[in-house]
Amino acid sequence: MNETSTAVTPSSRIGLIVFWAYVLIPLAWGVINTLRQALKLFV
């Protein structure tokens, strides 16, 4: 079995995007908060 036999269907592609957004949005929020804090070093 290789990856060609597990081709991504359109519905699973949407699920994939939603799932990635689910983890990356909170992470991005945390990174931006920390970046704001980090910028205090330079002002």
């Binding site: 060609t4 081709a7 689910y22 945390g30 920390t34 205090k40 330079f42």
Partner: protein, 465 residues
Amino acid sequence: MTSMSEPAHAGPPTFFSKQATVARPGFTRWMVPPAALAVHLCIGQAYAFSVFNGPLTKVIGITQSAPEDWSLTTLGWIFSLAIVFLGLSAAFAGKWLEHVGPRRTMFTAACCFGGGFLVSALGVWLHQIVLLYLGYGVIGGIGLGLGYVSPVSTLIRWFPDRRGMATGMAIMGFGGGAMIAAPLSVALMNHFKSATSVGVAETFIVLGIAYFISMSIGALAIRVPPADWKPAGWTPPDTSHKLITRNHVHIDEALKTPQFYLIWLVLFLNVTAGIGILGQASVMIQESFKNTVTPAAAAGFVGLLSLFNMGGRFVWASASDWVGRKNTYFIFFALGAVLYYLVPSFATTGNIALFVLAYCVILSMYGGGFSTVPAYLADMFGTAFVGGIHGRLLTAWAAAGVAGPVLVNYIRAYEVAHGVAKADAYTMTVHIMAALLVVGFICNLLVSRVNEKHHMSELQLANEQ
């Protein structure tokens, strides 16, 4: 070697069984990294536990500490216990997690981590510190250990072509989890704060439920690849002259190899060199640049280090797919030693920019050490038991968690007590860190291929799986 496998006729697989998590046609392996991240972003909260320390010292007094309130020393044991039980559960549950598969392990981690918060909330409510030790420290710590190891080993199996990048994505989540948890916890405590409550118990309940749900989503989404699966168009590289093996070493057998202990030392020394500095970063930059760096700017420095710690986990582990694991650690140890050696001169010449840059690179390599090691283990010992072997290797993290801060704090205290100016007190410490990294370089140099006598036969492997 004792087989832990269920017989083939053990009945239909249950929802949480390993067999039920085998991916079906149509599944893409790119669903696995967010499943792993859903767990690691939650358990990464551990690094932000200190935001509760202040409010927990005022549970009775509310506005200020009352005599019956807990002291910071008493509270410090909660985090220490959590890290100890992280290491213990990862080390001792290794065989079990390989046996039952990632879904059951990750769901157990969700129950433990979320449940630990709920028990701790009860502890705050009843003002019983033992319940916080039991809740967050012991039960939550077990959740940390199980949740840390299981998604990583699953990712390694899905990404044999990019093991470093895959483990880097998950372990980056552990570094980033605190960045979400710290402001979220503060916001929740402010929301729940009242004339009769500091808001910690309520925050624990919300976080416990939220983390349980998020980690359970990760557990539900996780899949393992079929036994003969490989990425399309990928052929395993020729391993005749490299450290990468196509064979597998049993978890118990791995402990009989010198390679395991050398990599243990590699991780221990890399973590020791970074962890002590991470805890002292704010004080260190203020003392090194007295009257120049304000407490707010020092907090910015800590934030910057956190970002590089997190980013390094992904960047260095991904780079290791190209330059090799051993070479990546050579870079960590050589570059780290040089930077540690140079840092005092940046401080004495008042060069803040180079001082900050040096520590950012050092902390990126600290993070990179965590995320590159599972791929290093998979290269050396194969993927069949890499989760369990990784779990046992994490005892190096627990040991470094004690050694790093002790080295930094005690050497600094000794220097100051003997008349050394505070600004210069870190020179000896960082030079010792540089020396530790040189030792790490030598340990890494000694890592060679695992002797074939440790490899499992096809029959042994079939029995175990």
